[in-house]
Symmetry: D2
Subunit: 135 residues, 4 copies
């Protein structure tokens, strides 16, 4: 199955005085792709928080920075989710400089827990997500 | 009365590829000084939100950018509040590069409204703030 | 002439613990629209910095915050530039929540100076910009 | 040897609409502690970039998010560097909510490469860093 891919432009806000994207800001690009993967499946995080009352929270991540992104670059950010246990998701993610496949900039794996919106205790993934990952 | 002054260091996160602090990030420094002015008066924004149930919200601002700040600069940020009507505050603020008075980098005026935490409608400033501004 | 409009989604990175977009982060949206206005005219800021050697720098701004943007909102950001003197531009900008015209969230005016990339002294706008604004 | 510790306050800018610090922003706190560890040893990153002409770049990191930080929290960020090969450093880092030791929020390991400022190729660590890590 081909992973979900989202695109984003690098603006001044993303860069630092080294002339490249600031290392923490790649995590913003990674999250945009995860949020858009959910949206593309018709899943609203705000709606999930109300019914059935679950929120997602990053509990661990690993990032390898291979090459820097620069101002005006157009990036492709992939998002390949896997079910891990009943209450968390593992996302394998990559960031390329467009045209895609040309330059792998960042690879990451991000573990996201599903939590009860009220108690913040771990909770089973909602059926809409389970269905998606079993497909 | 001498205005309240707070200090902050410029880190990589604050800069952009132009080699200077990104223009939006000076607003983060301005807010730190306003939050610390409140804290120095014993006012907790989280406590105010619970009792008497008020929050503050920036409704307008003007900024003049005179000289850029750079990585590793130590900044002094002043905060001179004035009572404006019964439900808002006007902060005159400045940012210098230390040693203070040497280099005026930014001057700003920021209007902050006092809102009811539940309805987000304008509401009179809490007595602790009024007392402070009348002193 | 209809102003240039650019769209942007609100992500977690843009919001704060008040549940709305952090006040400094609207300035990031405003800048994306200005950068995309230049790009739509075929102007690369990186190329301009090399030849003829000019960069742009925000020297003053005014912002009115009317209503807050929230997570998942799709925003339309307008950018209406005017020539001011020979060495600076004034941008009238607005941010709406989509569908456009429904909700005006922010209005701003941003003054941008044209500087020599080497000396950072004021310099006449490059012909490509002057042509655009005279059209 | 006790690790270096730096403190930082959580402001509105650091939080997101979940009411907690945004996951990418802990990386800003981690970097402040690494920069201050260098500064405490008399090392200026701007000076190193000129002479002997080296810069540092994060090449990989792992983060475990254990508990969230919230608005107004005072954080302690530790920074325990180890020499890894001749051209990179490994930092073991932790973030606590003050009072220190009370609540471990984040643990991380961050690998930083030493690069030639001109070519961006790997380069041996400067003597001032080697001396520090051998002490």
């Amino acid at each position: 199955m081909t992973p979900f891919v989202w695109q984003a432009r690098v603006y001044w806000e993303d860069t630092d005085a080294g002339g490249i994207v600031y290392y923490a800001n790649y995590l913003r690009f990674l999250e945009r792709a995860r949020s858009e993967w959910l949206r593309a499946r018709g899943v609203s995080q705000l709606a999930l928080a109300r019914e059935p009352g679950v929120v997602f929270s990053v509990v661990a991540l690993e990032v390898q920075y291979r090459r820097p992104a620069r101002l005006d670059d157009m990036l492709s950010i992939s998002c390949d989710p896997h079910w891990q246990g009943g209450a968390s998701l593992m996302f394998a993610q990559r960031i390329w400089r467009d045209p895609a496949d040309a330059d792998l900039l960042v690879s990451a794996s991000v573990r996201v827990a599903c939590l009860d919106a009220a108690t913040l205790k771990p909770r089973r993934l909602p059926p809409v997500i389970v269905r998606e990952l079993s497909a």
